[in-house]
Symmetry: C2
Subunit: 322 residues, 2 copies
């Protein structure tokens, strides 16, 4: 039935089709039509609904252009092995399985759609079909687990720089690794690590980027806090180009980090931060902390200066910009 | 056939039975007997072989005394849920699965025998039946992954103190968490962790203790570097009592650490160390380091003073005592 509905919309592109007409031509109830439209939305189709006019098909889900993606890859190791799926529960889950079966560093997993995308702190992540980049990157850095927070910050720097280059938008990092445009979240990064005593065994960097989502693609409750690159840059963005740019930036930052340590990454992070020198608030196991976010320390922790002049380090958690 | 061989040894306990006699009574070849004896050894039976005399059964595999173990548990949380197996590939693998299915902090896994016990740096661990403690402990500390190395050191302190109390042997810690008696290894600890960005999700502490292994239980190549509590203390040690003592020490150290941080744990570790103030050698990604092991720093890294007076920090790896 979904296919017959799509055919009907494609007869008269760009124009509204009323619910009454669909109902009459396909012989189904208005409620059934609404249900099918919702299913198509979940598959990545965008519809506009207007009262009295009916529905209009605005865009169809894109598919990864695999040869374009692979041919334009300028990296040496990262993204040289690519696993692409139509639908997965989470690209992170797939990547964990790939590591267990011996996948090498640099292997990436891409999916058109995630049914159970994971965000920080066990939150879910809205990942509709064809409009975003839902990517997991396998890394096997030979560094102590002690340095893990630095890798989290490095990932944010690499992605922020890639988005700046491809989309020319005014984007910044909220500690530790959320990317914001005009205060709204456009991308989230989640690094899942596996350690053995004081050594890292592997890291899976999960990246979610809202690329070509339109206003209509967001549930009502997300519209004031989330945005996409298409909305902010005013045009469609090539997902392939952005993945290539991200992996190239990541590879460069990663090599720099392995050679020179955290110092240069820290400077880049600080330059891209929308957190520093601003009043913030966070909750820690020992209570709320309020103050001015001052700087990163050598380990990657955020130093906050409280109203009474005390310097407090935040190692973990979420902060709220005030 | 193995059972018929055992019956034959049990007819005349403590005395030698010649290969010729076994061969005659059971109607099998001498080579077949040797093969069966080896199988029984793998199951935890200890035989002494003497030329011209034959074989003597010295000890049978023990079984965990579950009610004794549970009744004597003085902890509040650790070891209140116990999973005991006859044979597993590795208790760590089981514990990972238990975490995934929601097992709470403090859950432990015990096995009589591991067929693929894991040691540090991907090494295998000799874990014959009934004579050792092969234990995995699930922890879900709400601490940043940054502090993971401290938990590794804490585990060594807890186990070292438990062994001192139960066995009164002269035992010490080699950085970061090997336990040695007279320079020979008696226990190994492996902490496997799972992190999400800068936070720990869970830790599985794997502990292998050579409790009642006899000289004969060790392959030739291990005898100069490995020992057991029974060999060193001159008598059989209760595995149940030792597990109880370890979990109680761990629970106390863990509470102390959560309340006061690493400082008190560091002092205890330093007091039990056989590494500090001694010449050591280690290889790092940037080459060999030799020097005198001086102290632990605030993070748990080992500070080494090189011959030219430089202070170098070792975050990860194995050290060699010179």
């Amino acid at each position: 039935m979904n296919e017959r509905i799509l055919e009907l919309f494609e007869e008269t592109p760009e124009t509204y089709v009323s619910g009454a007409e669909i109902s009459r031509r396909l012989g189904v109830s208005r409620t059934a039509i609404w249900k099918h439209i919702e299913e198509l939305r979940a598959e990545g189709y965008t519809f506009e609904a207007a009262s009295r006019k009916g529905y209009r098909l605005i865009s169809k889900p894109a598919k990864w252009q695999v040869s374009k993606l692979l041919n334009g890859m300028k990296t040496k190791a990262l993204g040289q092995k690519v696993h692409i799926y139509d639908e997965v529960d989470s690209t992170q889950t797939i990547a964990h399985k790939l590591v267990a079966s011996g996948a090498p560093e640099g292997t990436i997993v891409l999916a058109e759609r995630q049914t159970a995308g994971r965000g920080r702190m066990g939150r879910s992540w809205h990942s509709p079909s064809g409009k975003g980049i839902w990517l997991s990157l396998i890394l096997t850095p030979r560094i102590p687990v002690y340095f893990m927070p630095q890798l989290t910050l490095l990932s944010a720097v690499a992605l922020c720089r890639a988005i700046q280059k491809v989309c020319q938008v005014d984007i910044g990092i909220k500690w530790p690794n959320d990317l914001l445009i005009h205060g709204k979240k456009v991308s989230g990064i989640l690094l899942e690590s596996s350690g053995e005593d004081e050594r890292l065994k592997y890291v899976i960097a999960g990246v979610g980027i809202s690329v070509n989502l339109l206003e209509e693609d967001y549930p009502e409750e997300l519209r004031s806090i989330a945005t996409s690159l298409a909305i902010e840059s005013g045009g469609k963005v090539s997902r392939e180009e952005l993945v290539q740019a991200f992996l190239l930036e990541f590879e460069e930052m990663y090599a720099l980090y392995m050679e020179k340590g955290f110092a240069p990454i820290r400077l880049l992070w600080e330059a891209l931060s929308v957190t520093l020198k601003r009043p913030i608030r966070t909750s820690t196991p020992s209570g709320f902390i309020e103050g001015i976010a001052d700087s990163l320390d050598d380990t990657g922790a955020l130093t906050v200066i409280t109203p009474n002049g005390e310097r407090v380090k935040i190692y973990s958690g979420d902060i709220e910009l005030k």
